[in-house]
Symmetry: D3
Subunit: 151 residues, 6 copies
């Protein structure tokens, strides 16, 4: 059981039930996850977290499936077992196929590998990745790296 | 400069040039990033890493833009400055708009927050997220949590 | 069971018992946690770790409760299940109320979120946060950012 | 410069200025940090993040200084240079002395060490840290570990 | 059970059996770990990951035992329970004694501690650690720090 | 400059000079790194950290070079720029060749990748990795996975 226990619907005060109801209606489910039941011990955090999630995960420039897969990518990187399980389920519900999951994992694994290679080798930033003002300062100092001859 | 220095095209042995050429042709660019120039000090790692990246980032069940955004999500979670810069540039090149970047960051931030809330509150896994054999064992023990009355 | 097993008091050599005794007396408990029993397989590490913990967690400029809450904050960020459980228990024993725990978690969650927003957006350091010598170098280059008009 | 650049007050649309004004009034400062200027490229995220921070960092069961130190603890654990710099400055402003900072760092360092010792040694959870329902299941199986004889 | 389930040898398609056979022959074992059985749901990732592991973990400038201990060090730092368990077993099989394990853990713990002290104290890089071109730029600015008088 | 500044030898109180002297004699160097100069603002932490490092990094069941490479592995995993730079230098001084560095990085990268594949795929622990008491409980439930036919 969670540190402060789980607040079940039947025992929840009105302000918590209001959030639970909104979660269930928004997500078309008939009970809320343990995550929300644990946060419900602190109603302001429950409300704030749900309002943020609701705003962030809604369709926008990115579709909900892409957002759920990004959630899984972060959770796998952070090794959060609860979040991997719950967001993998959510991503599947949003349409993630086995093939999509497998490619997602391959990218997550590779990114975690090359993140360490880049840092471990102490690779300096390429001039073309330096943005704005920093770039001006950088370009004034860095010699052009040799380019491949064309043609 | 990187720990072992950067191997420029002009100084590279044939096996390294072959990889550089493949990177430039595959990505339609006219020079390779410092990341590859650093790895080129170890040609087998250069080749293996590039072959893996090439296979993983190719279009498949997920499109290249989604894959680049997942790469940015992991890199931001890991705080790898080089990787954030280079893959943000790659994602933009693959079509990521400012609005898509902003939503990506919002999801990454929120996932990092709720990963810690779930772990910090020691939330136990919901029975519906437990898969396969584990599930059978789990369900035999866990009492049903109360559902919301319908209708 | 832990990798090297747990060393119970009854089986412990004198040098380990001496540390166990000091832990129990200092913490006013009648048995030591599994963490110490696991480390006891390497008596020098057991002694060094306990001496460090004893020195660091003692009252000083910060009180023991604040220190235990900081321990929980780090453990939740790192997703260490054992450490979250044991230090949450220790923090409660030191006086952490449910309300304090909930606020602690809210800060930990938010910090993990904004850490990624700051890195993901590649936010450059404000001149007022640059300290000492670095500051002088920085200020010579950075233009003043516009301030809000007063009055 | 940040990925999407920084939105200065003079160039900000009204909805962004409203948030900037609230930040400056709440924090009694005369300009906002680059963090907020970077987020301002996405006004809903700017508003949501500020509203969350404002709610979370306000005095409650924990005082603002403790909260800022927890923020520094998380940021140091995550290696976020921007956040370490800005929240160390904020904690000092809230009253953190050099001695408090030094003790904070000592706890953060030690927690990061013992987190890995606990996980690396695969230490199993002590029965007294298992909470609620889990505890019942656990206690039914685990033999009592030997206690120190009293007296 | 793993997200996509485990592919047992008896149910595996030829391309998966070929990899399983190579793993068992190379490692002189008579069944593959669950890790491989989970990846087998995505044969290209199974093959690529195994080929990479096989190449990387083979004897070279570093011996296999050292490599397995490095694997454990990374896994403990990342808090990956599965990887800690499986690579600790592999390191033992490669010759890691209890004493070597204990020293490995001590180094991993200490490195995780000092990583945060270095970042938390915002320690600037010593001029002698700055390499190549960066060094020239750095040395032009940094005053020599006082040396201890010899003799 | 570091948060609390750097304590140079010439300005250091006797208790700090004693530690600096021991560092320089033990490591056969003629000045201490900035890391120690930053910690010197808190003499008890300086002393404790140095005594721990001195004990842990001394030759034992593992040789100093292996220990320094483990330090680099952890630092690269954690993305600590200062620590990567200083411990890469220390490892080189202890005898790490370019080829050894390259293999070290390859293992670190791969471990970071497979850590996330194992967690992301939610791979359950193999029965042979479960140790001691846990094993007995586990084996009572888990069906044997099919083995490859021999001969």
């Amino acid at each position: 059981m969670a540190t402060l226990g789980l607040v079940e619907y039947i025992d929840a005060p009105p302000e918590v039930r209001t959030v639970y109801d909104d979660i269930m209606v928004t997500r078309r489910i008939d009970r809320v996850n343990n995550f929300w039941k644990a946060l419900a011990n602190d109603p302001p955090t429950l409300r704030r977290t749900w309002e943020s999630i609701k705003q962030i995960m809604a369709p926008g420039a990115l579709d909900p499936l892409t957002k759920e897969m990004i959630y899984v990518a972060v959770s796998a990187t952070n090794q959060c077992a609860y979040c991997i399980a719950s967001h993998t389920a959510a991503a599947r519900k949003a349409g993630m196929s086995d093939a999509m999951f497998a490619e997602l994992m391959a990218v997550v694994g590779m990114a975690n590998e090359t993140n360490r290679l880049a840092s471990g080798y102490q690779v300096e930033l390429d001039s073309q990745f330096v943005v704005g003002q920093e770039k001006k300062r950088f370009l004034a100092k860095a010699p052009r790296s040799p380019r491949r001859k064309k043609g």
